[in-house]
Symmetry: C2
């Protein structure tokens, strides 16, 4: 079986196995031995694909970060009233989180012990900052309430979105994704109370 799997191994499948192990054991608690066992290939086969455990981490969190930053380049995030751009970004963040669930989960658990982790935290802060700027612009337009401080509102919205990794499990039919994204947008922008 090991031989069979070795033949079909690609950097992509190795990454997917590594992310799963990182999420289960924690990045610090994962050794190359663990990865080799989980992947069913030898350590030297892993080194054929990547130079280190940290390179796997970098590739994995890059995938999550690229997914998030791509949102900001989308037309609906760049053109229009800030409040509508913000709504687009919030919806797409939920979609990216669900679509890249293990990668975003790993990104959210990064602690800052290695250079790669510190880089990932810095990129996360950049992203948070970009979203906070959008919220600030929407507040300046009077489209977002002024009685909730921008940094606090950003933290609460990110808190709600990021908490989805704790309970969301992909539905093979993908039917739940739209419902979750809609619900987040409804709560964040309109609240639960009927008007």
């Amino acid at each position: 079986m090991t031989t069979a799997r070795r033949d079909t191994y690609t950097p992509e499948t190795l990454l997917s196995v590594a992310v799963q192990v990182f999420n289960e054991r924690g990045y610090d608690g994962t050794s190359m031995e663990h990865l080799s066992k989980a992947a069913g290939i030898s350590k030297s086969s892993i080194y054929h694909h990547v130079s280190s455990k940290e390179e796997l981490l970098r590739r994995a969190v890059s995938r999550a970060l690229d997914g998030l930053f791509t949102i900001l380049d989308e037309e609906h995030a760049r053109v229009g009233r800030p409040v509508d751009r913000l709504e687009h970004v919030v919806r797409r963040m939920v979609e990216v989180l669900m679509g890249e669930l293990p990668y975003v989960t790993l990104l959210l658990r990064v602690r800052g012990n290695t250079e790669t982790e510190r880089w990932a935290l810095e990129r996360r802060r950049d992203f948070d900052h970009r979203v906070a700027e959008l919220l600030k612009a929407a507040a300046a337009d009077g489209d977002v309430r002024g009685d909730v401080e921008v940094r606090l509102a950003t933290r609460l919205v990110f808190g709600m979105i990021n908490s989805i990794v704790e309970w969301y499990r992909p539905d093979p039919r993908g039917s739940g994704e739209r419902e979750v994204a809609d619900a987040v947008v409804q709560v964040v922008f309109s609240g639960l109370r009927s008007t």
Copy 2:
């Protein structure tokens, strides 16, 4: 110094040290040795106060759970329209979380490896269920929007509130607490968009 601290030790101060260590190292990763070192008292002195590490965990998560369940017995949580009772509960959850920060943080990290952890998870589920029932009653009254499914809305609201443990640090003047509680209530019930 060890002797001096030993004299003033109470079950209360021991609990406070234990919770801090559990939060830093994880409950599983904490030994009686770690607790003894952090508290500056011998292991046998600890056993004078408690029978096991698990008893300390039970006392700590009980403190958080008691704080949360007490909310449900408050007059404003029992009397009035469900939507207003729900608003009271949400505000008070935020206050209890900030007031009992290390205890609630520990409660939210419980994994279910021991009997005490499974008991704590069960009590958390009970609490979540009680809040979901309130949300359902408010929706039945037409006071809460019907287009967000109750279980999903409950998860998102708990997600937002629980995420506060990730960044909130007590302000000696306590001035930030009111602002955070107000912000959560505003976002959850009215949303960010100006109307």
